[in-house]
């Protein structure tokens, strides 16, 4: 429906994109993929790795103050799609993205748009906690410093504290801010990464299986944090845990072989999904 913006103009071999696209029609998505107050609006998004199409014309909105979970079997494209939302796929050689992805109405693949500040506006938390090999303080302060978000040390201190508080970590680390972030437990490291993401005032937070390396207690703390963060941010989370998707999100999107099969209210998806593939997956009948 929108103009096609090619991010990476790479040769895809003997077969043209059109020919390849002709081989794989996108399936119609079941459910309304739009929301009234969209923070991000994705339309007909396709992702290609060389000649291979990984995402097949996906359209969906991410609303303000909502958690959208993306579920699906391995290789379904959910992480690939997530990485499109802050142009992380730009770093992959041979990957190109078509369609449109708007953040507050602005095309994030516009050639004039610098992806570095975009990644501050659309932050990302990864599967494995990846704190910098620096102090806890520096882990949080690093982003604001390079983006020039504070004017002096006092402002930076205040930002570090507020970010750690929002991430529910302040009380646990306030007396050891100079210690290495890598010395924290896995759950604390993940919350430190969330604090690091929050510190640069994002509008959207992307989470790629943020709890898969955490124990159930740490997972519960992060899930509680996700629920609290929703009041200020839009959150898109990729998870392999159906229970986690059911617990933390308001809407759920089910991906299958690069298609967005179904999207809807999480309550509906987990009680009465409309598509057979969705039902098969969430009830453990897939494959």
């Amino acid at each position: 429906m929108s103009t096609v913006v090619e991010v990476m103009e790479k040769t895809t071999g003997a077969m043209s994109s059109a020919e390849l696209a002709g081989e794989q029609h996108s399936r119609a998505t079941v459910g309304d993929f739009t929301v009234a107050d969209a923070r991000m609006a994705c339309r007909e998004v396709e992702v290609w790795y060389g000649p291979k199409k990984a995402i097949n014309g996906v359209s969906l909105d991410i609303g303000k103050n909502e958690v959208l979970s993306m579920i699906g079997p391995s290789g379904c494209g959910k992480s690939t799609f997530l990485r499109c939302l802050n142009r992380m796929n730009d770093t992959i050689d041979g990957c190109r993205v078509t369609g449109s992805i708007l953040l507050d109405g602005q095309d994030i693949y516009d050639k004039s748009l610098d992806p570095v500040p975009l990644r501050a506006r659309v932050g990302m938390v990864f599967q494995k906690p990846n704190p910098f090999p620096k102090s806890i303080y520096e882990n949080v302060a690093y982003g604001p410093k390079i983006h020039g978000l504070t004017n002096n040390r006092a402002e930076l201190d205040a930002l570090v504290e507020s970010s750690l508080r929002k991430a529910g970590l302040w009380d646990e680390v306030k007396d050891r801010l100079d210690q290495a972030g890598t010395g924290l437990s896995g759950g604390q490291q993940q919350r430190l990464c969330i604090a690091r993401t929050i510190a640069v005032s994002p509008e959207v937070i992307l989470m790629d299986e943020p709890c898969s390396a955490l124990d159930p207690i740490a997972t519960a703390i992060v899930e509680e944090l996700i629920d609290e963060l929703r009041s200020q941010y839009s959150i898109a989370i990729v998870t392999h845990s159906m229970q986690q998707a059911a617990r933390v999100s308001q809407r759920t999107a089910y991906f299958h072989l690069g298609d967005l099969i179904e999207i809807g209210e999480t309550n509906d998806i987990f009680t009465s999904p409309k598509h057979r593939l969705t039902e098969d997956y969430i009830t453990g009948r897939f494959g």
Partner: protein
């Protein structure tokens, strides 16, 4: 659902999990419910037989067998807890577990109603001695009420086997027959020429009729749960005529 999105066969709703043990657990839960249902139908028919034949031994057999249904109800609850705790069911599985739990409750309560009919049969026998307290027309009306209630309950349990929407629909369509039979019994008991019966006898017979009607009502509740599983729609408290018309419109 479209060609790309074919509905699952009703008979396959509870099966096909990657973890086969999950299939077995759901099958076990359903088997308990089906066994309960069979017992309830048997109990209801025996209780009415005890009533119309003035057969004490038949009534006592109903009372003796009633705890079996209660024990099965406990087994069903245990299985429901176990499946929820171990499998955290979602979507159709969640609907199946919730529905079977409610169906177990309906079957248990229907079993109680059969027991009440048997108790009333014994009470009537005690009140009436060897005299036949049922006039032919009342006997026939009670037979029609029993037939409507038991046939509804029997079909509701059969509907659970394959989560059969069409069979559930047939039960809804049979509700007027149950209602008419109940009205007929009440009218006959209210007629002047039933004066041969004492007030206590009339109360006993009305209690029996009410118990049979309730068995039919439990059958309708079960049919609603079957539709909830198969179609994912909660049809309780919906206008029955509109529901029947809608289901017909959907091809059932």
């Amino acid at each position: 659902m479209t060609d790309e999105n074919p509905p699952r066969a009703a008979s396959d709703l509870a099966g096909g999990h990657t973890v086969r043990r999950y299939d077995e657990e759901l099958a076990k839960l359903r088997a308990i419910i089906l066994e309960m249902g069979e017992h309830v139908v048997g109990q209801a028919r025996s209780a009415v037989m005890a009533l119309v034949d003035r057969d004490d031994s038949q009534a006592y057999r109903v009372l003796d067998r009633e705890p079996q249904i209660d024990y099965l109800s406990l087994d069903a609850d245990e299985e429901v807890f176990r499946v929820i705790a171990r499998r955290q069911p979602t979507a159709v599985d969640l609907r199946i577990v919730l529905a079977l739990s409610k169906i177990a409750s309906d079957a248990e309560r229907a079993g109680d109603k059969a027991k009440i009919v048997a108790e009333q049969a014994l009470e009537l026998k005690k009140l009436s001695g060897d005299s036949d307290y049922l006039r032919d027309d009342l006997r026939a009306a009670l037979g029609r009420l029993e037939d409507a209630a038991c046939s509804m309950f029997e079909r509701s349990i059969r509907a659970v086997v394959n989560f059969d929407v069409a069979l559930s629909l047939a039960i809804f369509e049979d509700e007027p027959r149950l209602s008419d039979a109940s009205t007929e019994v009440r009218h006959l008991l209210g007629e002047d020429d039933q004066k041969g019966l004492s007030q206590r006898q009339v109360v006993c017979l009305l209690t029996c009729a009410h118990g049979l009607v309730r068995i039919g009502n439990h059958a309708s509740n079960i049919a609603e749960q079957v539709i909830y599983v198969a179609l994912g729609q909660d049809v309780r408290y919906r206008n029955r005529e509109i529901l029947i018309e809608t289901l017909h419109h959907q091809g059932y």
